[in-house]
């Protein structure tokens, strides 16, 4: 009996242990399965998140560099680094460095974690062989106080066919010694306008340099992405064959009966930028119209007793009122509207009309001319000394006789410009163009030619000084509006 009992007890002990182990195993298997499953889900989620993060971080880098190329940007790189008006040489680079906590970013150093291998791929020479300059990102070391985008560096350099791996000339080989330009006035083999990249050691004056912007974004887990823009500066790039242009047919023109009011196509003596061989046409006519009947329309609007037409001076005989040949884009409703839209899209300030000079940006000054688009009616009064830059008005433009504007005035839309008596001696220094592209309901005219432009200034008491062509202000008012994206693509890694 004793033996039997002992044997029985021993057997029961084993079962309890086995059951406990079995239950533990079961629980462990379930737990591991859950862990593996959630781990896989997490990995999938993390992969997706990192992939998206580096992509958009790199775009943030591209956009910062693109914005800072503009001189009007508060964080402009500076003319000592790069300027829209001078060619950036091949073999030079600008790096925008964006350090995170503990980062050491030296893209031109082959031993650095964030070495710029891509430069070698594009140009066939090491990044260290380029003449590099570096600037800190606006986000560098979290200067802004909040974590910024996680791009590491952005490189800006002149582009070549080889760096883009693109045969712009379709010549069968990749040129690596000539910088690429973008020419909006380029003509193709059929003789048609073909705004495009060009490879030309002596690019035409209409061409602007295409710059390559390359951004590397990297995450702590090692995920990297390189994206690239090709950009070029864009400005409205207008030339004015007269100080005042009525760009329409059957124009309406009425000028003041006063000898102090003038229209001068020859610049003021103080405008040193004007020269017959300069980049801006000079001298020009006082008033320009696109066809001969409108020369008569303008002439008939000038008071003849006393004869005020002697106040219209410029190219040719006085009165200097002539049919002029305008740029193709200024000849049609579509072209004019395109210019207006480009300005509206890239203006420093877009103001909804009706508006007055009080609505103009306060930062506008002689040293900081701005591009302002008024969508609607605009009234320029005398509560500010003067406006500076490029002014677009799509509605009716009314100006006080004592008001001043230095730069370019485009009245494209309703195409009417009238005056009100308030002070005296106000001047439009630069060039002014009036064109009707909209009907009274604000719809685009069918075209192709714009409707009648209207200029009405019939004051005879306190009059303005009028319109004085000014090459310097025309140039300053046409600073690049933006750096246009010519191409975007991901770089293979």
């Amino acid at each position: 009996m004793k033996k039997d009992r002992k044997t029985h007890r021993s057997s029961e002990d084993g079962i309890a242990l086995l059951i406990a182990i079995f239950v533990l195993l079961l629980i462990s298997v379930v737990a591991i399965a859950l862990l593996v499953s959630s781990g896989t889900e997490t990995a999938l989620g993390v992969n997706y998140r990192t992939s998206s993060t580096v992509y958009y971080a790199a775009i943030a880098g591209l956009e910062e560099a693109r914005g800072r190329l503009l001189p009007k940007n508060p964080n402009y790189f500076g003319a000592s680094y790069i300027s829209p008006t001078t060619t950036f040489p091949l073999g030079q680079t600008i790096y925008v460095i964006n350090r995170g906590s503990g980062d050491n970013i030296v893209p031109w150093d082959s031993s650095n974690t964030y070495y710029d291998n891509e430069y070698q791929t594009e140009f066939g020479t090491a990044a260290s062989s380029a003449s590099w300059q570096s600037v800190n990102s606006v986000w560098d070391n979290n200067i802004q106080g909040i974590p910024g985008p996680m791009f590491k560096w952005v490189r800006i350099n002149a582009a070549t066919e080889q760096s883009l791996f693109l045969q712009v000339n379709a010549s069968g080989s990749y040129n690596n010694s000539t910088p690429i330009f973008y020419d909006p006035a380029h003509i193709n083999t059929s003789g048609n306008p073909w705004p495009s990249l060009i490879v030309n050691m002596s690019p035409p004056s209409s061409a602007v340099q295409a710059l390559e912007i390359t951004a590397l974004a990297a995450l702590p887990n090692g995920t990297q992405k390189i994206l690239q823009y090709l950009v070029a500066p864009v400005s409205v790039n207008l030339t004015f064959p007269a100080a005042l242009i009525l760009d329409g047919y059957s124009d309406v023109f009425n000028s003041p009966d006063h000898s102090a009011w003038v229209v001068q196509g020859s610049s003021d003596g103080g405008d040193g930028a004007c020269a017959p061989s300069g980049p801006v046409p000079y001298p020009v006519h006082a008033v320009g119209v696109p066809d001969n009947p409108d020369v008569g329309n303008v002439m008939s609007g000038i008071p003849s007793s006393p004869n005020e037409s002697v106040n219209f001076t410029g190219t040719g005989s006085t009165p200097s009122i002539a049919r002029v040949t305008l740029a193709t884009s200024l000849q049609t409703v579509q072209g004019l509207n395109q210019i207006a839209q480009t300005i509206i899209q890239n203006a420093d300030a877009v103001i909804a009309g009706p508006a007055t000079e009080a609505d103009l940006p306060s930062a506008m000054s002689s040293a900081n001319p701005m591009t302002v688009a008024v969508q609607g009616d605009f009234s320029l009064g005398t509560s500010i000394p003067a406006g500076y830059g490029l002014l677009l008005v799509t509605g009716n433009f009314t100006y006080a006789s004592g008001s001043n504007w230095n730069g370019i005035v485009l009245v494209i839309g309703k195409g009417t410009m009238t005056t009100s008596e308030n002070g005296a001696g106000g001047t439009f220094n630069g060039a002014t163009l009036i064109a009707q592209t909209l009907d009274s309901s604000g719809n685009l005219l069918p075209g192709p030619h714009p409707g009648p432009a209207t200029f009405n200034d019939t004051l005879s008491g306190s009059v303005g000084r009028g319109f004085v062509y000014n090459c310097g202000w025309i140039q300053r008012a046409q600073a690049p509006l933006t750096y246009k994206i010519l191409s975007f693509h991901e770089i293979r890694q």
Binding site: Y48, S52, A170, N188, W194, P195, S196, L486, S487, F488
Partner: protein, 270 residues
């Protein structure tokens, strides 16, 4: 002594105690297994929803990026003077079209059966761009098409004298499954019973919604007048309505997810 010891050792529970204990144990086990079963059902349903969501999100993201990079390199990256490059080396448009691609006659983009384009359409998109620019093999066509409930993807080289629609139709592979954007009216009605805000008006929801450049800003292509053309597409809004493969184990209802994305072509056709 021997008897007393034996009594202590063999002292146990009465039958009543055992039965009560067994009943309590069974009740506890039942509750635990019921909870476990519920958790299991919920896990299965949610993991299927999650899988569908992941798949759709990957697909959507890829399509958005394809549209972002469309039209690379544009024809205006080539000077066309003095030499003219072969047509397959550049993109003439961000989105290829049919009919009329070969004759360079853009069709009109419509929605809900309108327009003259068969592609681009509500459920069909062909992106034109050079995916692997470091190769000299030229531009590729990447096509997405919803057929039934499967969004398929196809990628081929751009062939100078070939139509993009027929060329890309030969190599479709399934890309995202259970896409329910274009189902029958009866199915839409059934879905709306669970998700009243989906399928506005009881109509299929286009996967691709196109926006065209106009001088007055970007507008939906179908209402862009003379600017309604695949050549003028700047943005593609993508909507995916994806259904989990099985119904909710608890409620027995379908599980749908709606995702939105918008691709913006950064390569202008200048």
């Amino acid at each position: 002594m021997k008897r007393a010891h034996q009594t202590r050792c063999e002292q146990g529970f009465s039958l009543i105690e055992m039965m009560i204990a067994a009943v309590i144990f069974i009740l506890l086990c039942s509750a635990a297994f019921a909870l476990l079963s519920l958790a299991q059902q919920r896990y299965q349903t949610e993991s299927q929803v999650l899988n569908s969501f992941q798949e759709a999100r990957f697909g959507l993201d890829e399509m958005v990026r394809d549209v972002n990079g469309s039209a690379y390199p544009s024809q205006n990256m080539f000077s066309f003077n003095p030499n003219v490059p072969a047509k397959n080396l550049y993109a003439i448009t961000p989105v290829a079209w049919d009919p009329g691609y070969l004759s360079s006659s853009p069709c009109l983009i419509g929605t809900g059966g309108g327009g003259t384009c068969t592609t681009p359409g509500d459920f069909d998109l062909i992106v034109e761009r050079d995916v692997d620019y470091w190769h000299t093999d030229g531009v590729e066509w990447t096509r997405y098409r919803l057929q039934g409930n499967i969004l398929s993807r196809s990628q081929t080289y751009k062939v100078v004298s070939a139509d993009p629609e027929t060329t890309t139709a030969l190599s479709f592979v399934p890309y995202v499954q259970n896409v329910m954007n274009n189902v029958s009216s009866a199915q839409i009605a059934a879905f709306q019973a669970v998700y009243p805000n989906m399928f506005p008006g009881g109509n299929p929801v286009p996967v691709f919604n196109y926006f065209c450049y106009t001088p007055f800003g970007t507008q939906q292509c179908a209402s862009a007048g003379s600017y309604n053309s695949p050549l003028n597409i700047t943005d593609v809004e993508i909507t995916l309505i994806v259904m989990a493969p099985t119904k909710d184990a608890q409620t027995g209802q379908v599980r749908l997810i709606e995702l939105h994305g918008r691709g913006h072509s950064l390569n202008p056709i200048q």
